[in-house]
C-alpha cells in the first residue's frame, strides 16, 4: 500500500508547502530561482518547524539566527524533520529577535543542508522506521538573500504554510487507497470459514468509515472550490486535518484487524518492500507498523488538539484554553 506508506515521491514539503509561500511572500529572485527547482525535483526540501520541548507550540521556538554582515549565523535544533536524511534543503523558522514576545521576532529562512554545521541525526519511530530526524545547527552561515519576506514576520508565513499543509493532510487519496487495501485483505482473509468481508461486524466497521470518507471527500471538494474562489482555507482546513487523520487512522486500524495473527510479525521498514520479509499469505504488508506509524497524523503538523483549539478560538472568543 504505497499510497499510505509516505513514500518519498509524495512528500508534500516542497511542492504543496514551500511553493505557495514563495509564490505569495517570496521575492522575484527567490521565485525564479527556487520554484523551477522544486518542480523539476532538483531540490528536495524538508521542514524545520518543530523543536524539542516545544511540541505543537511552534511560537516558543528557540533556534536563533543572528545577523552578521550579509549572513545569518544559525544555532539550535529542529526535530521531527520528515525524511530530512534525503533532503538537500530545509526551510526553517528561526528566532531573529530574542526580545520580541512569543510569536513575533520569528523569521523564515531557507538553509542549504550541505552548509558546514548542519547535522542530521535519525529518530527511529515506534514502528522501527527511520522516517524523521533531528537537525542540529552549529554556527551555520546562511546568506541573507535566503530570508523569505521580512525579518521577524516569519510567523505570518508559517501560519499560511500550515493551513496549506493541513488541507493536504485531509489525505482523501490515501484513505481511498487504504480502504481498497482493507477490502482486498478482508476478501482474502478467512473468518469462521467465510471471507472476513462477509462478517457483519467487520463489514459494519468498513462501511462506516467508507461513509465518513464519502462525506469528507465532498467537504474536501467544497474547500478546494472555495480556495479556487480565492478564500484562504482556514477553519475548514483545521476541520479537514482532524477528520482526515481520524479516518486514515481508522482505516489503518481496520487493515491491522483484517490481517489477524499475521499483524504481529515485525517489518523493519514500513516504507517499502517489507512484504518480502513478512510470511503473510494475505500479502498485506506491514499493516500493524503503518497503524502505529500513522498515529503521527494526529500529532505532527499541529496536533488535533491544537486544531480543535483553533476551531474553538475562531468560532467562540477565547475558547482555546
Amino acid at each position: 500500500e504505497a499510497a499510505d506508506a509516505n513514500a518519498p515521491r509524495i512528500v508534500p514539503f516542497g511542492l504543496s508547502m514551500l511553493g505557495p509561500v514563495l509564490q505569495k511572500f517570496g521575492s522575484k529572485e527567490q521565485q525564479d530561482h527556487w520554484l523551477p527547482r522544486i518542480l523539476d525535483g532538483t531540490d528536495w526540501w524538508c521542514q524545520g518547524y518543530s523543536e524539542p520541548g516545544a511540541g505543537s507550540d511552534l511560537a516558543s521556538l528557540k533556534t536563533k539566527a543572528v545577523r552578521d554582515g550579509d549572513h545569518y549565523i544559525v544555532n539550535g535544533q529542529k526535530t521531527w524533520t520528515t525524511l530530512g536524511q534525503f533532503a538537500n534543503m530545509i526551510f526553517c523558522l528561526v528566532r531573529t529577535d530574542p526580545d520580541a514576545k512569543q510569536q513575533e521576532g520569528i523569521s523564515f529562512l531557507l538553509i542549504d543542508m550541505d552548509t558546514p554545521g548542519v547535522e542530521v541525526r535519525p529518530i527511529i519511530l515506534l514502528d522501527g522506521c527511520h522516517e524523521v530526524n533531528e537537525v542540529w545547527f552549529t554556527d551555520v552561515r546562511v546568506p541573507v538573500e535566503n530570508l523569505v519576506g521580512e525579518e521577524n514576520k516569519g510567523w505570518t508565513y508559517a501560519k499560511y504554510l500550515l493551513t496549506h499543509e493541513r488541507t493536504g493532510l485531509g489525505g482523501v487519496g490515501f484513505s481511498q487507497a487504504g480502504l481498497k487495501t482493507v477490502k482486498r485483505i478482508a476478501k482474502a482473509a478467512n473468518h469462521n470459514g467465510k471471507p472476513l468481508i462477509e462478517n457483519p461486524h467487520f463489514a459494519a466497521r468498513v462501511a462506516q468509515v467508507e461513509i465518513d470518507l464519502h462525506a469528507m471527500a465532498t467537504t474536501n471538494l467544497r474547500i478546494i472550490s472555495q480556495a479556487a474562489a480565492g478564500e484562504a482555507p482556514g477553519l475548514e482546513a483545521s476541520m479537514l486535518k482532524v477528520k482526515g487523520s481520524i479516518i486514515r487512522q481508522e482505516i489503518n486500524d481496520l487493515a491491522r484487524r483484517a490481517v489477524g495473527p499475521y499483524a504481529m510479525p515485525f517489518a523493519s521498514e514500513a516504507v517499502e518492500g517489507a512484504n518480502d520479509r513478512i510470511p503473510d499469505p494475505l500479502d498485506a504488508g506491514p499493516v500493524a507498523g503503518q497503524y502505529f506509524n500513522n498515529r503521527k497524523l494526529s500529532i505532527f503538523g499541529g496536533s488535533n488538539e491544537i486544531q480543535r483549539g483553533i476551531i474553538a478560538k475562531v468560532t467562540m472568543s477565547g475558547g482555546g484554553q
Partner: protein
Amino acid sequence: MNFNLTEERQMLQDTLRRYLREQYGTARRNDILASETGFSPDIWTELAELGVLGALFTEDQGGFGGAGFDIAVVFEELGRAGVVEPVLDSALLGGRLLAAAGGKTELVEQVIGGALHLAVAHGEPDSRYDLDHVSTTASDNKLTGRKAVVMNAEAADHLIVSAKDGDGIALYLVDKGATGLDIQGYPLLAGGRAAEVTLDNTPGEPLGLTLTDYEAANRLALIAQCAEALGAMETATALTKDYLMTRKQFGRPIGTFQALAHRMSDLLIELEQARSAVINAAGYIDDPRADMHLSAPKNLIGRIGRLVAEEAIQMHGGIAMTQEYELAHIAKRIVMADHRFGDTDYHLERFIALSAA
C-alpha cells in the same frame, strides 16, 4: 456537483429563513405543539403562499423546482426552525406520489396551493422500516388492514394507502370519509400528530402506482429527512455555541474551558460532515446507485444526529432538560428523525448490501 446554490434557490432559502425567523419563534412553535391539531393552518397557508410547497414539485407537475437540491434547501430551513407542519408527509411524499400517478393535476395544484392535505399510509405495525412488508389487502379496490404511525392522518383530505393486490403492492387513494376507515390519532414526542389507521373493506381508487413508485418517492423523503436533520443540527450547535459563550461557571464563560471548547469543535467538524452528506444525497438522486448514496447520508446523519443532540444537551446542562427551551424541541426533532424512513442500522445494512453488489 455544485456547491453554490442557484440564484433561485438562494432566494428561496433567504425568504424561507427570514419568514421562519420572524413567524416561527419558540413561543409560537410551543403554542402550536400544545394545540389540538398539532400544527398551524395559518403557517401552512403562508408556506404555500411563499412558494415553499411549489418548490417541491417540477414544472411539469405544476411547481417550480422539485430537484434534489430544491428539496434539500427547503427542509434544511424547516429543520433549522424546528417546523412541525407536515410538509414532508403531506406535500412532498403525498404530493409527489399523486403527481407520479398522473391525471391528478387538480389535486396536486391544491396541494401546492396549501388547500389540500394528504397522508401516506404505508408502514404497518410489524413492518418496522421494511418497505416491501405489506399485509393490508385489496380486492375489487376494497382495502382491509392496519397502518401504523400514519403522519397527518387526521388532517388529511385523502390518504394514499398501500395494499397487496394479488402478489404485487399497489397504491390507492382513499377519501377521509370512506366507509370502514378508522383513524385513531395521537400526538408525537417531537411534535405533530400521527394515527393508527384501520381499513375494513374500505373503498379506494387505484392510482396505478406500485412499490417501485413508492420507493422513488421514498428517495425524495430521505433527502428531505436528512436535510431537515441537518438544519436542526445547525440550530442545536448554534444554541450550544451561544450558551458556551454567555453562560459562566467558576467565574468564566464555560466555553473557555478547554474540554467543552474541544467538544464544541468536534460538533462543528461533524456538522460539516453532515452538510456534505446532504449535498451527496441531493446530488446522487438520479444516479443509478442512488439508493446506496442515500443510505450513506441517512446512516451518517443518524450517527452525527445522536452525537449532536446528546452533546448539545450535555453542554447546556439542566436548562436543556426543560420542555420550553428551544433546544429541547430541536434535540427531539434530530433524534426522532432517525425513526423515519429507516434508522442508522437499517441504512448501514442497506449500504453494505448495495456497495457489495
